[in-house]
Subunit: 249 residues, 2 copies
C-alpha cells in the first residue's frame, strides 16, 4: 500500500515577523499523522505572490497533498487564491458557488467589493466548506487551500478529511529513560540498525534537575515496533543496573 | 543600506509528526526582527540527509543568513553536521576545539563515541558557544547551525548575534479596529496604495463575541509610518462615525 505524503505551506508576513505565533503546523501535523498521511515538509512564506507560487509548485511536484493556510480573506494582503491560480496556470474569477454562499450569509448592502474577493476561486477547483465564517476554501488538484485563523482552518480540515486517501495507521511507542542521551546513544543506534522498519527518535529533556530522553518509536509494522520497544526497554534496564551510567530515577 | 535577509530551517521528524510543537520559529522571528534582519522564509524538514542538504542549499543561495535548529546531539538521528558539510562540499571530522570543550566538560570515562559525535564540525567552520550544555554549534559561511532544544538554541542566538550585520530598525504600529475586516478592506487598501514604503497587514480576531482586526503597519521609514498610522486611525474613526458599518466598541 502506498503511503500518501503531504507538504504544508503557511502563508503570512505576520508569522515571519514574529507578530503571530503559528499554531497551525502542530495541529495539522497531528491531524495528518492520525490519518496515516506522512507530513514530509513544511514551509512558511510571506504574502508575496512569487514566493507562494514557487513554494506551492515545489511542494505539489513532490507530495501527494499540499495544504496551505492563510491569505484568503477580504483584505489587500490576501493574495493566496490568485497565486494558486497562477501556480496552476488556470484562470480565476468570481465563482457562482462562492458568490451564492456569501450572498446567503451577508445582509443586503454588506457584500461589498472586498468581501466579494473571497468568492474568487481558481477554475476547476472544488470548494471546501467553512462552517465558521462561510467564505470557502478550495481544492485544486492535490492542493487544499484553507484559512489561516486556527478555528476556521480546523473546521475546514474536518470538512476536507473525507476526501483524503489514508495510509495505514502509524503506531507510536515512547520509552522514557532518566539517563543522559549520550549514555544511551550507542546501544540505541544498535537497536535502530536492527529495525530499519522502525524510526527511533531521541528527544532529550530536563525536568526539575532530572535529565533524560524520550525515546520515540514509530512504525507501520506492529510486530516490529513491539519487538523494538521491548529491546529499548531492556537496554534502558540494563544501563540502569550496570552502575556505569548516571540515572535520575 | 542593504537589509540583511534570513532563511530558517527547522530540522526534526518530531515536528512533522506533531509529537513536538515547535517553539523556535516564533522566537527566532522575534529575535531577527529586533536586529533589523528580514526573515523571508522558514522550512521544516525531517532528519533526512537529502532533505536537509536540498533545503540548506536552497536557502543559502537566496538569503544573507540561514539559521538551522536541531540534529546536533549525540544520537543516531542527529545528522545535521554531516548534512551541512555535504551541502557545502567540505570535509567533516572531529574538531580539536570541539573535542577540547567536551573533554573539559565530561568526567573521565563519560566522553564516549556517541558524545564525541558532537565534536564533528565541518572544515572551515567557526564554533558557536553553548553555555547550557557545552556541545557547540557552528557557523559555516552564512549558515548558523544550532541545537533544537529551545533553551540551548536561545543561548546560542545570544552568542552569535554579535556576528550578524544588522539592518535599520523595523518600526511597527498597530491600530485595533472593532470593525469587521470586510468593512475596512477597501479604505485600507487605498492607504496601502498611498504608502508603498509601509507594509500593512490585517489580522482579524474575535474576542468574547466582539469582532475586529488588528491593522499592523511595518516600515523602516518613521515619517511614512507615522503618516500612514494617522491615516488608518482617521479611516477607522470615519467608519465608526458613518453609522454604515457595524462596530463592537
Amino acid at each position: 500500500m502506498t503511503v500518501p505524503t503531504a507538504g504544508l505551506l503557511l502563508i503570512g508576513d505576520e508569522i515571519l515577523s514574529g507578530r503571530t505565533k503559528d499554531k497551525n503546523l502542530g495541529y495539522i501535523a497531528d491531524y495528518l499523522t492520525a490519518l496515516g498521511i506522512d507530513l514530509k515538509e513544511a514551509r512558511v512564506v510571506a504574502d508575496d505572490e512569487n514566493d507562494i507560487i514557487a513554494a506551492v509548485n515545489a511542494l505539489r511536484s513532490r507530495y501527494t497533498y499540499v495544504f496551505t493556510t492563510g491569505g484568503i480573506g477580504p483584505t489587500h494582503d490576501d493574495i493566496t487564491a490568485d497565486a494558486i491560480a497562477k501556480a496552476f496556470g488556470v484562470k480565476i474569477d468570481y465563482d457562482p458557488r462562492g458568490v451564492a454562499i456569501l450572498e446567503a450569509h451577508y445582509q443586503p448592502g454588506q457584500l461589498n467589493e472586498a468581501r466579494m474577493r473571497m468568492a474568487r476561486i481558481p477554475e476547476g477547483a472544488e470548494l471546501i466548506e467553512n462552517p465558521v465564517s462561510k467564505a470557502p476554501g478550495f481544492r485544486l488538484g492535490g492542493v487544499f487551500v484553507m484559512a489561516g485563523v486556527p478555528k476556521i482552518m480546523q473546521a475546514m480540515m474536518d470538512q476536507l478529511a473525507s476526501r483524503l486517501s489514508r495510509g495505514s495507521a502509524i503506531i507510536t511507542a515512547t520509552v522514557t529513560a532518566y539517563i543522559a542521551e549520550g549514555d544511551l546513544a550507542q546501544p540505541l543506534k544498535e537497536i535502530q540498525d536492527r529495525y530499519p522498519e522502525v524510526t527511533i527518535g531521541s528527544y532529550p529533556f530536563e525536568e526539575s534537575g532530572k535529565f533524560g530522553a524520550n525515546l520515540v518509536l514509530r512504525s507501520r509494522n506492529d510486530g516490529k515496533i513491539a519487538a523494538a520497544e521491548r529491546d529499548v526497554q531492556n537496554m534502558v534496564a540494563k544501563l540502569k543496573s550496570s552502575g556505569k551510567v548516571k540515572t535520575w530515577s
